[in-house]
Symmetry: C2
Subunit: 214 residues, 2 copies
C-alpha cells in the first residue's frame, strides 16, 4: 500500500488526486498488467477499487483515456530520465570510460524497471495495438532518447574506446543486451535467484568484449 503510493506519486506527482482516484488508478494498473487492457472490464476495475463504475467515467471519458493517462507519464518519466539524469551524468561529471558509464546505466535502468514493472508490462503489451501510445513512444524514445544515445556513443568512439561501427547499430546491440538482461531478470525468470552484481558485470563485459576468446 505504501509502496504503491510511491509509484503513484512518481507517475502523477504534479496532479492532485482524490483518494478514490488513486484507488482507481492502482486497480487499473493492477488489472491491466495482469489480464491485459482489452480483457479488463471497467466494472472489474470499479469493483477492485471499491468505487462506483460511474466514478471512473467522471474522471476519464473513456476506458482508453484511462489507459493513456497511466502510460503517458511513464513514457516521459522512465525514458525521459535516460536523457536527463544519465546524460547529465556523462556531461557534467563525465565517466572516464565507457565501462563505468555502462555499469551506471544498467544499474540505474534496473532500479526503474523493478519499481515500475507493472506499468512497463502494460506498455509492452499495448504498444503494438494502440497507435496513440506508439506514436508517443516513438516521439519520446526513438527520437529524443535515441539521439542522445548516439551522441554518447560517438563521444566514446572519439575517445577511441568503442569500435567504428555505425552508432545506430552500436545502440541497437547495447540496448538489446541491457533490455535482454532486464526482461530475463524481471519478466521471464523473476523466480530464479539472481546475483545482480555479477550479472551486471557479465553484461558490461559482454557488451564491451563479447563472448569470444581472443
Amino acid at each position: 500500500m505504501v509502496e504503491e503510493e510511491i509509484l503513484l506519486q512518481q507517475l502523477f506527482e504534479e496532479e492532485k488526486l482524490t483518494d478514490k482516484q488513486k484507488k482507481i488508478l492502482l486497480a487499473a494498473i493492477d488489472t491491466f498488467s495482469e489480464k491485459g487492457y482489452a480483457a479488463t472490464s471497467t466494472s472489474e476495475i470499479a469493483k477492485k477499487a471499491g468505487v462506483a463504475e460511474g466514478t471512473i467515467f467522471r474522471h476519464y471519458k473513456t476506458k482508453k483515456e484511462l489507459l493513456v493517462s497511466i502510460v503517458t507519464p511513464l513514457i516521459s518519466k522512465v525514458f525521459g530520465p535516460f536523457i536527463v539524469k544519465d546524460f547529465h551524468k556523462v556531461l557534467d561529471q563525465p565517466f572516464e570510460n565507457a565501462e563505468d558509464f555502462l555499469r551506471a546505466t544498467i544499474e540505474n535502468r534496473r532500479e526503474v524497471f523493478k519499481k515500475l514493472l507493472p506499468v512497463i508490462k502494460i506498455i509492452m503489451q499495448e504498444i503494438p495495438f494502440q497507435p496513440e501510445l506508439r506514436e508517443q513512444f516513438v516521439e519520446q524514445v526513438a527520437k529524443k532518447t535515441y539521439e542522445r544515445i548516439l551522441v554518447v556513443i560517438q563521444d566514446y568512439q572519439d575517445k577511441g574506446q568503442i569500435i567504428d561501427m555505425p552508432p545506430a547499430s552500436v545502440a541497437r546491440l547495447a540496448v538489446s543486451s541491457i533490455f535482454g538482461y532486464l526482461i530475463s531478470r524481471y519478466i521471464f525468470f523473476p523466480e530464479s535467484e539472481w546475483d545482480d552484481e555479477i550479472e551486471t558485470e557479465r553484461t558490461v563485459h559482454f557488451i564491451l568484449h563479447g563472448i569470444g576468446k581472443k
Copy 2:
C-alpha cells in the same frame, strides 16, 4: 494468398482442412496478430473469412481453442526445429568455429521469423495471459531448446573459442543479441532499410568481440 497457403501448410501439414477452415485460420491469424486476441470478436473473424459464425464453432469449441490450435503447432514446429535442425547442423556436420555457427543460426532464425511473423506476434502477445500457452512454451522451448543450447555453448567452450562464463549467462546474452536484432528488424522498425548481410555480420562480431576497442 499463395504465400499464406504455404504458412498454413507448414503449420497444419498433417491435418486435412476444408477450404472454409483454412479461411477461418487465416482470418484468425490476421486479426489476432493485428488487434490482439481479446480485442478480436468471433463475428469479425467470420466476416473476414466469408463464413457463418456458427462454422467457426463447428470446428473449434471455443474462441480460446481456436487460439491454441493456431499457436500450438507453431511452438512445436518453429521452436522445435531450432533444436532439431540447427543442432544437428552442429553435431552432424559441426561448424569448425563458433563464428560460423552463429552466422548460420542468425540467418536461419531470420528466415523463420520473417515467414511466421504474424503468428510470432500472437505468441508474444498472449503468452503472458494464457497459462496454457505459457506451459506449452516452457515445456517445448525453454526446456528442450535451452538444454541443447547449453550443450553447444559448452562444446565451444571446450574448444577454447568461448570464454569461461556460465553457459546460462552466455545463452542469455547471445539470445538477447539475436532476438534484439530480429525484433528491431521486423517489429520495431520494419519500414527502415536494412542491409541484412551487414547487420548479421555486425551482430556476429558483437556477440564474439563486443563493441570495445582492445
